[in-house]
Amino acid sequence: GENPESARCRCRLRAVPTRGVIVSAPLSILNEDGSCAPEFARLISDEDLAAVLDAFVLNRVLDRRLQMLQRQGRLGFYMTSRGEEATILGVAMTLNADDPIFLSYRELGCLLWRRVPLALIFNQLIGNSQDLCRGRQMPVHYCYREWGIPSVSSPVGTQLPHATGFGYAARVRRTGQVAVAFCGEGTASQGDFHTALNFAGVFRTPSIFVIRNNGYAISTPESVQTAAKSLAARGEGYGVPGIQLDGNDLLAVVRTMREAVARARAGGGPTLIEAMTYRVGAHSTADDPSAYRTDEEAKEWERLDPFERLKRHGKWRGAWDDAREEAARAAWETRVTETLAQCEKHPPPPVESLFEDVLATPGAQLAEQRDEYLAWHRRRPREKFEVP
């Protein structure tokens, strides 16, 4: 689409040397008015389009509500994904339900697309007794095995070689799965990025690595992360096809992911995708971006909002309208309110759980620590220890 807006949207997009068919993919598909070239008009079905727009609505409702909850002190921490949903949802919708997605931490949309129950998401954020992770990790450190979501962890980049290894296992076990991993452009500076991509190239694992290049790592701009013209260009150094695309254009993400997934399932090996997008919100609820970037910059990107662009496409196709959006939002707001109320009622995990799941069966030392502590704790049931 050659028009001012998507041109502006691609301000940080550059052609990069790549290998394989994928080089033919356009960087952007959606035009400013929501239209697109005929060959892409049916890239996703009307049903999927409506479903992904619905997920967009829910994602934004959640980001708003949960951020508010954190400000009210009802959540310890939260991270929004506003502005990056097209990349996140676009990736999710091209995968099978059993394809593992190794999240960084900013990909709530993947859980929503896979219909992870809201209650399970809230239970994790609260860290209550119903949290599948048993309240052991900070908010947004999701893990939902039944939905193909391995455990998020804070150290950035560690998930990348896991996607390489999982892909290898899938091939050896002939499961037909493709392993996908997300990371930010900052995380691409870690050694784990290097080993993950290089091993994936050597063993031609069915793995797809998606860099959300949202311009910032906390306060650090992408210009400090690398002098490379693009991170997709790194694929060449690993023998892995690399492609940079417009991450705010859901169709461009879907188009490229479909090719990558198809190649991976066909034994063609891994792909590196750099999705150019923008972190519209703060890094986390602990961050204040006004200290390091201008509102103008953020405003500029608000105008390239992936939701608005996809809505225009939905309307252009007659598959979406404002009424539907309103209805969806209203429905989700109520669902969220009700579900939150339920989840906040759950007590914290039992004290015993602190000592479980370290090993398959607790070692002698830990068992002794548990018995001593629980005995001591029972003697002081009413005592609440406050932490300075």
């Binding site: 860290g127 209550n128 052991r136």
Partner: protein, 327 residues
């Protein structure tokens, strides 16, 4: 008489860095978000503005690269001061620290002796879960060639950071982020240093010796105070230098009290409390009247919701003191 000012630990650390940067032009500060932003805890705030982007700068997001580059900078004649954003994220740099920084002077017969100081916020109590709470001191304490320092308040933070910067050895400098803001002292605004390898007797006592460092010191102070209320006279020692450490002060104390309790946040097994217990039981054997007790984190990863059960608190430490004294 030198001027003093009331500061929290963040201000004390920031002032120490400022004073050192001013007097040693070889000093440079690098790390994630330490430049214009001043670090996620703002310890380096204002320093890039004052000393320029060449001496205070943001790096790509790679701790191994930060440590490796810092070692090279030191070999090249600079004195890098590294911030690891959270101690939990030092492990990608572990090889550079343990295999290179710690061994460099020894392996080349001191032809080179790269001086790098690595600061890191550490410890629990901020609801940070697994990866914003850990206390890795034992890993570094078991690594010859490093000095490991942990501070407990603004006065120690400033004096020991300056001493650690002056000394020509690599130093792992541990800052208890839990009390970054809460701990306040009236401290000299001028340049001053405190001795390395010297523990501080914070409170004299006759019945038992209580040893801690970092944020645990405050908890132990509370425990000692409550012990007094129950009629026990506890001697409290702030270790300050983890390695090499001041065994003399501990042994002297235990020779009087005959009893020792050590408290730390890290998992108890093979934690640094084990070293202190092993050392003191050997050197003060004849004086020991009760087993040395350790009140520490459990042998689990650091939890989130149940954090307050994991962290040693005054209550548990008090119990251990009483048990030891009444043994």
């Amino acid at each position: 008489m030198a001027e003093t000012e009331t500061m929290n630990m963040l201000q004390a650390l920031n002032q120490a860095l400022d004073l050192y940067m001013e007097r040693d032009e070889r000093a440079v500060i690098l790390g994630e978000d330490v430049g214009h932003f001043g670090g996620v805890f703002r310890v380096t705030q204002g320093l890039q503005e004052k000393y320029g982007e060449e001496r205070v700068f943001d790096t790509p997001l790679a701790e191994a690269g930060i440590a490796g580059m810092a070692i090279g900078m030191a070999l090249g004649g600079l004195r890098p001061i590294v911030e690891i954003q959270f101690a939990d994220f030092v492990f990608p740099a572990f090889d550079q620290i343990v295999s290179e920084l710690a061994k460099y002077r020894y392996r080349c017969g001191a032809q080179y002796a790269p001086k790098v100081l690595i600061r890191m916020p550490y410890g629990g109590g901020i609801r940070g879960g697994h990866y914003h709470s850990q206390s890795p001191e034992a890993y570094f304490a078991h690594t010859p060639g490093l000095r490991v320092v942990a501070v407990s308040g603004p006065y120690e933070a400033k004096g020991l950071l300056l001493a650690s910067l002056e000394c020509d050895d690599p130093v792992i400098f541990l800052e208890p982020k839990r009390i970054y803001r809460s701990a306040k002292d009236e401290i000299p605004t001028d340049y001053y240093t405190l001795p390395l390898e010297r523990a501080r007797v914070v409170r004299k006592g006759e019945d038992a010796t209580l040893v801690a460092w970092g944020a645990m010191l405050g908890i132990c102070r509370e425990a000692a105070a409550r012990a007094e209320g129950e009629g026990y006279d506890v001697e409290l020692i702030d270790l300050l230098s983890i390695t090499p450490y001041d065994a003399r002060t501990l042994v002297r104390s235990v020779e009087r009290t005959g009893r020792m309790v050590v408290a730390h946040e890290a998992p108890v097994t093979a934690g640094f409390g084990a070293e202190l217990a092993a050392c003191v039981q050997a050197k003060a054997f004849a004086s020991l009247e009760a087993p040395i007790e350790r009140v520490c984190g459990f042998d689990t990863p650091f939890p989130y919701t149940l954090e307050e059960h994991y962290l040693p608190n005054a209550e548990r430490i008090l119990d251990a003191l009483v048990r030891t004294i009444e043994y």
